[in-house]
Each structure stands twice: as structure tokens, then as C-alpha cells.
């Protein structure tokens, strides 16, 4: 009997050590997307600073690194972000900067979906495209059929010139820009999505809701409720 409990203890210790090791960041702190095929990045790609919503004079800037295929990002984008937009962005209290952080090795359609938004941005419809992808997330994310056709249907719905959109997608015109954004995220130790930086400081808002953002912005701008 004693041997049995020793064996149990041994299994428990080995399991605990393995889980502890797995919880430590890898040497480069790099997330799964490292195994992605390399994409060349030009200086022009790096010069793009993300999709921005809100006033230049807003006292707080929130930068979000997100992946369109990530379920938490989609939930945040579809449910929480509209409130944030109404309460904080449209009132001039914050500026929102969206940065692509495709988890390429994890999600199959990350880059493709980021390209959809980039090509929509060419026609001034980036945020509408994001809404379309997030709101219909369940129809395309994390499932095998190639969603290119489905994306085109959704994009048509927001009023894009489809010839221009298709030409942009076929040429993968903004692949380098998306990769530059991803590399920037890696350099800032972004380890998952969504990751938020508020006035340059990272906040752990993985399951954020609009109330938390409101409270944080209140505290940063000295507003008492």
C-alpha cells in the first residue's frame, strides 16, 4: 500500500513539473505564429500604424492586437466594442488603434481574414469589414472550408467595389503590412489575443468588457462617478 501512495505521489509530482514547465514562456516568448511562412516586409509596410478610430486629441489611446479568427476577439469585437465605441470613442475620450496579430500557426484563416480587412480598408471600409467578420464569426472561423467565398459575400454586403477587392485579395497586397504588424506585436511581447495597451502600458483585458474600459479611462482621466 505504501508503494502505491509513493507511486501516486510520483505521478502527481511529474505531472505538476510538466505543467509548470509548459506554463513558462518559450525562450523567445514567441507565440504559435512563428511557424508561419515568412512574408517579406517593406519600410512602407512598417510605416502603417494600424486602423484608427477616434479623435487625434483624445487623451487616451488604446491599442488592440487581435486576430479575427480568435473567438475571444470576435466576442469582444461583436459584443463589447460597440459600447466602447459609443461611450468612449465617439465622445472623444479615447482613440482606438487596431493592430493585426494573426496567430498563423494556430488559426487557419487568420491571415486571410486580416487581408479581407486590409483590402476593405483600401476602400475606407476597414471597420465595417471587421464588424462583418466578427459578427459572422461562427460561420467561418475554426472550420475547414476555405472561407474566401463567404468573405466575398459578407464584403459585398458592406458596399465594396468587388473588382477592386478581388484584385487586392488575389495580389495579397497587404500581406507585408499584416506581417509588419504581427512582428511589432512580437517585439512588444504580445503573447495572445486580444492584447491591449493603454497609453503604451499593457493591460490584461483578455475577457474585457466595456465597463472595465470605462472604469479604466475614468481613472486615467480623473473622472469620478
Amino acid at each position: 500500500m505504501k508503494r502505491f501512495y509513493l507511486l501516486l505521489g510520483l505521478v502527481a509530482v511529474v505531472g505538476a513539473v510538466l505543467i509548470w514547465q509548459a506554463s513558462r514562456p518559450s525562450t523567445g516568448g514567441a507565440p504559435a505564429s512563428d511557424d508561419a511562412a515568412p512574408v517579406p516586409v517593406t519600410a512602407a509596410d512598417s510605416a502603417f500604424r494600424g486602423y484608427v478610430l477616434g479623435s487625434d486629441s483624445a487623451p487616451v489611446e488604446i491599442v488592440e492586437y487581435a486576430d479575427y479568427e480568435c473567438p475571444v476577439c470576435a466576442q469582444f469585437g461583436a459584443v463589447q466594442f460597440p459600447d466602447i465605441r459609443q461611450q468612449l470613442i465617439e465622445t472623444g475620450r479615447i482613440r482606438w488603434r487596431f493592430r493585426d496579430f494573426p496567430l498563423v500557426g494556430v488559426h487557419r484563416w487568420s491571415r486571410l481574414s486580416a487581408l479581407v480587412v486590409a483590402c476593405a480598408s483600401e476602400q475606407g471600409k476597414a471597420w465595417e469589414a471587421m464588424d462583418a467578420l466578427f459578427q459572422r464569426h461562427g460561420e467561418w472561423a475554426q472550420r475547414p472550408p476555405d472561407p474566401t467565398g463567404l468573405f466575398a459575400d459578407r464584403i459585398r454586403g458592406i458596399g465594396l467595389d468587388m473588382n477592386g477587392y478581388r484584385a487586392c485579395m488575389d495580389a495579397q497586397r497587404y500581406a507585408g503590412r499584416i506581417e509588419a504588424s504581427r512582428q511589432e506585436g512580437l517585439a512588444r511581447n504580445v503573447g495572445g489575443t486580444p492584447t491591449f495597451f493603454v497609453n503604451g502600458r499593457e493591460y490584461n483585458f483578455r475577457r474585457a468588457n466595456s465597463d472595465e474600459f470605462l472604469a479604466l479611462v475614468d481613472s486615467l482621466t480623473g473622472v469620478r462617478r
Binding site: 505543467i19 504559435a32 494556430v106 472550420r143
Partner: protein
Amino acid sequence: MRHRQVIALLALVGFGIALYLWLYKLGYLGRLQCGSGTCEYVQTSSYGDLWGVPVAFYGVVGYALIFAVALAGLRPAFVSRRWPTQLVAALAAGGWLFTLYLTYVELFVLHAICRWCVSSAVVITAIAVVAIPAAVKRDRGAGSGERSPMV
């Protein structure tokens, strides 16, 4: 008694696997050690949660229950009782059916296999294989007029 020891050991291994997957879902682990992206593909799919709770959490609770009952069944007060084996058999049967559903989803809906899920499936199957015959065998023994050692 030996079968309860085997079940406790297997349940501890299963608990470790489920805990690992649950911690991943909670965001405490960066990336699953899987050898490919398919574990994360499965875990982050819409099937990775059930009623708003990560599927792995059900595994954590289930294995913990099996482990606790198997250990309780090894205590002198309960070692000759029949209920720990029967309870473990019932839990294992439920767990195995749930695993069957999850494996179906992996194979035929997601078309992706998570190695950790397969490992857990092997563990719960082994527990069921040990526990169910032991529970049935004891039932038969008691019903055939043999002197029950459990009383």
C-alpha cells in the same frame, strides 16, 4: 482493491491532462505542446466550450471525482464496500460516453485531432475497462448467494 489502485492512478493521469488543457483555456499556458497546431485548433473551436464552460473543466471535475472515490474506496472503512467501485464505474461510463461524443466531433466535424484529447480518451477508456467489469463481477457474486465480503 487492486483495481481501485489502478483506477486512482489512471484518474490522476487523466486529471493532469484535463488540468493542462483547462489551464490553456484560461490563458495560463502560452501554447499547447502538441507537435502541430491541431490541438489549439480543437481547443479554441466552438466545441471547446460547453454551456459557457471549457470542456476541459468537465474533465478536471470528472477525473477528480473518480480519483477521490477510488481513493476513498481504499480506506479500511470502505475497502470491502461495493459502492466505490459502482460509483467509479458509473462515472467512467458517463465520461466515456462524453469522450465518444468529443471524439466524433474531432473526427467528423472539425476534422482535426488533439493528441491530448486522444490521451484523455485512452485514459477514460482504460478506467471504464477496469471499473465496469469489477462492478458487474461483484454484483454477480453478491447475487449468486456467495457470502458477500462487503458487509
